[in-house]
Structures are given as C-alpha cells and as structure tokens.
Amino acid sequence: MIPPSFAYHRPSSVKDAIGLLAGFGEDGRVLAGGHSLIPMMKLRLAAPPNLVDLGGISDLKGIATDGGDIVIGAMTTQHELIGSDLLGKKIPLLRETSLQIADPQVRYLGTLGGNVANGDPGNDMPAVMMCLNATYQVAGKSGERRIQARQFYQGAYFTALEPGEILTAIRIRPPDEGHGWSYHKLKRKIGDYATAAAAVVLTMKGTGEIGSAAIALTNVAETPLYAEAATRLIVGSKLDAATVKQAVTAAEAITAPASDRRGTPQYRTKMAGVMVARALAQAAQRARGG
C-alpha cells in the first residue's frame, strides 16, 4: 500500500512550521510519529498535499518542570515517556498507560502529542489527560493559547484545534504525592484499541476517605469521557461496595459506544463499568501504599 503523493517539509522551528501551515491552509497537515497518519494515508482516509514533519523541531521534545507543573513536549515519544524517571515518580499513570499502547516498535516513534491531538476515540492518552486535568499548549499564526484537555474533544477526529494550529506541549500538575493511580484497559490482544478502558487518580485521607479523584473513560463514545458524576460520588466516600456500584452505574450511563468487532454497545458499556471498578480498587490500594 503506497500513500498518495505529497510535498514534504521539515521545518526546524515552531515558527517556521506555523508559517508553512498558514500558507497551505486546508492543504497542509502535520506529521508527528506518523503511526496514525501514515496508515490513514495508505487507506486514502487522508491525502494531504503537504506534510509538515515536526520531527526536526527540538523545541517540541523533552520533559521539563515549570513551577509545580511538568511540561511534556508534543513530540516526546511513548518510549521516552516510559523511560522518564521524573514521570515514573511524579505521574506513574503515564508510564502505566504508555505500556498498554500498541507495541514496542510503535512506541519508539508514536508521540504523546499525536496520540492526544488527532482525536481518535481509540487512543488511550486523551482520557488519561482528562483524568489528570492536563492543559494543552497550542501555537498558531495568531499566537499561543492553552486548552483544557477536558474541553478539547468535540467528536471523533474533531477537536478544539483550529486549522493551522500545532499542539506544542502538554502541561500537567502532578497529583499529590502518595496518590493512587490506575489505567485498566480491556483489549483483545497486544496492540489493540480498548474494548473499554478507565483511568483513575485519587488521593486518600488518613481516615480512608477519598480526598480528591478523577475518573475518565477510553473508547466508549465518540470522544474520551471525563466521568464527572462518578467522580463526585466517590469523593468523600470510603469506596465502600455500595458507593463503587453507584459510581460504576454513573460511569456506564455516560457511555455511547459503537458496535464493532470488539463487541456490542451493551457489552462495551458493561466492560467500561468493570474497568472503572477495577481501576478504582487498584488506585485505592496504591494510595494505601500497597
């Protein structure tokens, strides 16, 4: 399968990339790790006349701290996320998620920015970013702006990114030290998209009550879902069985999965509930130090 023809551009700065994209309008598209876009081009689901490769822009790489935040360059690969000691210590949810994405070869090239920005509901990082309440830093010809991950996703492959804008970095305030985390993903095999998946972070008080929490869901609607009602139910609780059951029901209620080879909508909704229950249990256990 050979992709359609295109002109290749490899700018060395964000400014040059934005300039190129402004000139191309609808005829330009950015190339990050390429592991979503190149398969789509082979299938003729995408045929951009101009590809702007972000691989030569060093400003888009790396993991840094800024005040209390961790800022991850959009071109940072999944492999680099997994290898980061800083992230492993401060936001272990990211490593746990990356290890469940695709396979080693894909993770060497696939980027965090590509995963969160292309709007594929099957991607795992968008729900994780909603769970972590991440902020996306975006640059375009009219300047820079920030968008909350929880406000970013509008539909399958539709996001708040305007034409000509580039996602430059993902900014995350790490959850409090001692927090619990979990990404539970049901999939048919390694490399598959989720049948359903749930991300959880939570903090627990000494009394065993949940101090703060966030729950988000992958691949059970046209967009990733922040399960706000389910989150509210567990905050202040001791995660007793009745509360967990209510939270699972609340999470299931916001799903609208497609029917595909991964299962019927009813099955995938139920599996989303199962993933929420398991992720809550694991996150709570980790918050207790287990």
């Binding site: 050979i2 992709p3 359609p4 590809l51 490769d53 080693p104 070869q105 894909v106 060497y108 490399g191």
Partner: protein, 166 residues
Amino acid sequence: MAKSQIALTVNGESVDALVEPRTLLIHFLREQLNLTGPHIGCETSHCGACTVDLDGKSVKSCTVFAVQANGADIRTIEGMANADGTLHVIQEAFREMHGLQCGFCTPGMITRAWRLLQENPNPGESEIRYGISGNLCRCTGYQNIVRAIQYAAAKLNGVPFQEAAE
C-alpha cells in the same frame, strides 16, 4: 512530485539517494537498495516483518517515510552477521533453538531481539514475550523464539544456556 535527496547510513555504509516523499522506508530498502531481508507483511504496522533498527530504535519500516530517515543510521538483517561472515549470536541462536519454521518473520524477529538485548541484556521470559509483542509469527507458537533469545542472551553474557524447567 519532486524527489528529495537523502543521505543515510545503512549497515555501516553511506548511502545517497533520491526518493519520492511518499516512498516508504521498506520500499526504499527493498527496491532501491536491494535489501530484501526486511519483509513486507501486513503493511499496517501490526506484524513486524519489516522491522529494522533506526538510530537505536526498532521501527516498522512500512510506517516510516524514507525521507524521515534522512541522516539516520539503519541496520537491517543483512547487517547482522559478523565481519568474517559467521552468524551473529542471535542468528546462531535461532538456528540452534529452531526459532523459525517458514522464516518469514525471522529477519524482523532477529532485528528486534538485537535491540531488545541491548536495552535489557538479561531479560526474563515475560520480558522477552513483551519485548517481541510487535512481531507476529504464525508458525512456531513463539516457544522456540523465546528459547532462542534466551540462548542468545546467555551466550552474549558469557554464561551457559540453561533451559527453564518445564
């Protein structure tokens, strides 16, 4: 479409070439450089038959444009054997442990195993299985591939290969 000039290193040799931007790395290697060791399998970045090493990373060369490899250092299965022509330890291990049947996945498997063993010189069985999870084999059931990589790891570490107890 205008062709792009690329310069890269493949199996230790400098290569200058003109490529169409849409040319995939696997097609460039096979058709322009006649390196037909990396295979075209699924063409959808699932099977790993096209795996090559690019700047210290195992990549599926069906999902990389040749222009993206400009300046890169690439190794394919053709660059795996020792300088005197004898087999690399991993190649020898696949032969000794019957780590292949039809051989279609083998160039990708060995190239991937080579990188895996550099990152983790002494992997456990589950780490090996996870490490090669991007490479599909439809013949062996993986059992002997895992044994081959264990054998290669032992040899590279200078310790005797010991079969795990059943």
